[in-house]
Amino acid sequence: MRTTDVTVIGAGPAGLAAATECARAGADVLLIDASRQVGGQLVRQTHKFFGSSAHMAGSRGIDIARRLGKEAKESGVQIWIDSAVHNLTPTGEIHVVQDRLACAEKPDAVKTRQVSARRIILATGAREKSIAFPGWTLPGVMGAGAAQTMINLHRVLPGRRVLMVGSGNVGLIVTYQLLQAGAEVAAVVEAACDIGGYQVHAAKVRRAGVPILTSQAIHSARGRREVVGATAVELDGQGNARPNTRRSFSVDTVCIAVGLRPEIRLARMAGCRLIFCPPLGGWTPIHTEHMCVAPRVYAAGDICGVEEASTAMEEGRLAGMAASASLGLVTDERLRRRTGQIQSRLQQLRGATFSRRRRRSKQRLIRQGTEEWATADWRIYCSRRPKEPAIPVQAGKNSAQLPAPAEEDKSLRDDTIICRCEEVTAGEIRTAISRGARTVSAVKRRTRAGMGLCQGRTCEMLVARLLSQATRQPADVFAVDHRRPPVVPVTFGALAGDSHDSS
């Protein structure tokens, strides 16, 4: 068992910044990441960032990743790459499976390690949301993030002609990068009535001749063995398809960029208290101004609400500073001063780039976290097992004010597959709901939706949406990730941990 002062999980901008901060304060720091290089999403971002020079404006994401990685190493951070955390125990033990990617061909070479940490910093980032429509399981339909990885990291063109679904920053930037890589983009469709991303990105896409079609949703993808076309449809104000407005595109690829949501599985396992914040991507842990989410556990970056790399770095510094201070490595005076500086930079970032809704949500997270930290309430939530979310038979006070998501055509056909792994259709799920299932887990038990290899990552939100439609509750109320290990698939051999668990 490796013992550390601080273990940081996730080596994106938040995790790298947090680890460096702790190491500079004199802590023994271990930084763990599941992929084969550090930097998180930065490594596939070939575009230059804008903003202030304090946040490396003018640099490309990939260069920022290199610089942050170098800083972390130079400050003494030990980094484990290709190391996926599969369990986080209530006693603070971190179970890691190593070399899954390197040993993909010989799984018996995969190792397991255990880490005990005096402080844990969760910087697990976000993951893409999914939507279902007829044909969405055809080869050729993929997340925009996957397409970006293909072109920018592996230099493989995912297709020749693409339809982009979603006009947030990810959709717009990937559209532009697909063009740069040599693909054609037929259009960007956006279900909302406004473009989601920055105008500067939208303008670039438009200048390149790609239309951005608002109030339009993907209706279906066509093809027998792979995508040969896609259809979009116009939406009315309620998110229903307008009759006779279908528009067909001849494309071989459909990219889905309908938003990101915080990756909270480990936060749940750590016993964090979650609340639902649509402007920040969905369920996210409440935290104090020092990013504390549970006793001895901190979190930073997109896990605490989807924002930007720049805010993630600042939150990482805050978490690192606070974790170090709690270990007695930083004086209260210095903590106060640094926290003040970082908070004022964060305020600037959020003032400049964020809508009021997002900023207010973030303030609410912190206010609630701080209040609950001071009360006995917090300990209840940290006592191991948070209850399965209550069945919202009546709208809770949180849920009443949440708008229903409008990312797609609401009239999903019964034969559309919702769970790809287990091939469960919308019709089967609707039957389960009509028979009494009222939670994502209950639907899972009745239909197997979410029981496959992806562990429900892709379909749980889709199941939640069907529950939402049937019970007239906001979708995300239903979608809280389960908190049982393993967080990633792990072999019997690795779980048995024969010769490696003493390391």
Partner: protein, 390 residues
Amino acid sequence: MTAADVLVIGGGVIGASVTYYLTRAGLQVTLCDRGDIASGTSSACEGQMLAVDKRPGYDLDLALTSQKLLSEISGEFESVLQYQQTGSLLAVEEEDLHAAREFVTRRKQAGLRVDLLDAQTLRSRVPALAEDIAAGIWCPSDATLNPMALAYGMTVTAQESGARVLPYTEVLSIKKDAGGAAVGVSTSDGDLTADRVVCAAGVWTPGILQTVGVDVPIRPRKGHVLVAQRGSSPYQGAVQEFGYQKTILGMKRGRVPSALKEYGIAFVYEYTRDGNFLVGASRQFAGFSREVDPDVVRWLARRAIRFVPGLSDINVIRIYTGFRPHTPDHRPIVSRVPGVPGLFIAAGHEGAGVGLAAVTGRLTADLVCGRAPVIDPEPLQLGRFTEGGD
């Protein structure tokens, strides 16, 4: 206040079966569960319907009666039970050979079709087993099914014949009239009246019967189950290590690591019709904590690899824990409740609830209706646990 002939508490496989058989007997039944159907032990177990592991005599008769009943009625269920008669196999290690021979002889004498396979035959039938497994006990009539599908199937069929099913309705207490007879329950959603009440709440039974001052010696025995990735199954059937019998019955095990004894671990393998497989099992008294214990998981994985070395490379995608309702003599309680007229209990099956669901439902219906029982109810009386019976 809503009236029913019978109110059933608990929508697991047992409560679903009781509801099914009572409805079939023509009674108006209401079924309550505090969650969805099959949201407790029935969705946190395995689906083996075994006779081979039952003691010859009453226990074996009970299991065989249940298998027979289920094969009679399974065609009625709209949902597919994923019932498959794959047979069951007990893997015998060298040191248990002698005990295994005796085990087989006794079951043959009792009329069960069961064979002792030598190492070579065993290997040709299940090549995935470790080379040093000395023998196998093969019982072709044993089967597996999906417990959740069984519970849903029985409930839906009962509903179609007029039963009322109330999920998310938690029973808070049993109500008695002035004469001390059960007349209904009070729930999180108001009171429900009924002429008779059946408590089929598994490990949660003692808490409910406590409300009428009745002690029931059922304790939660925690089990861990690992679920493997689909399409990776090394064998399409059910396998247990012979030593599992000793674990269940609390007998001494031979030369196995002490952790296996402490956690009650024995290798259990079940292929499911969905194409993946489950690996268990552990048996611990750990209260109602559902926490996955990494050390138990470690020893479960080690034990599995000891019997099927090829598992080493196969992914586990899910781990769950559940509570088996344990009774001191490993037999269920299917009984009237002494001292409370109109109150019945059908619970305490430990790991055999899936296999015994059908016979339990039928026998409970027989008791409630006062007709000739499908099997002698005497050994399953609640009174057996109090000194001198009742």
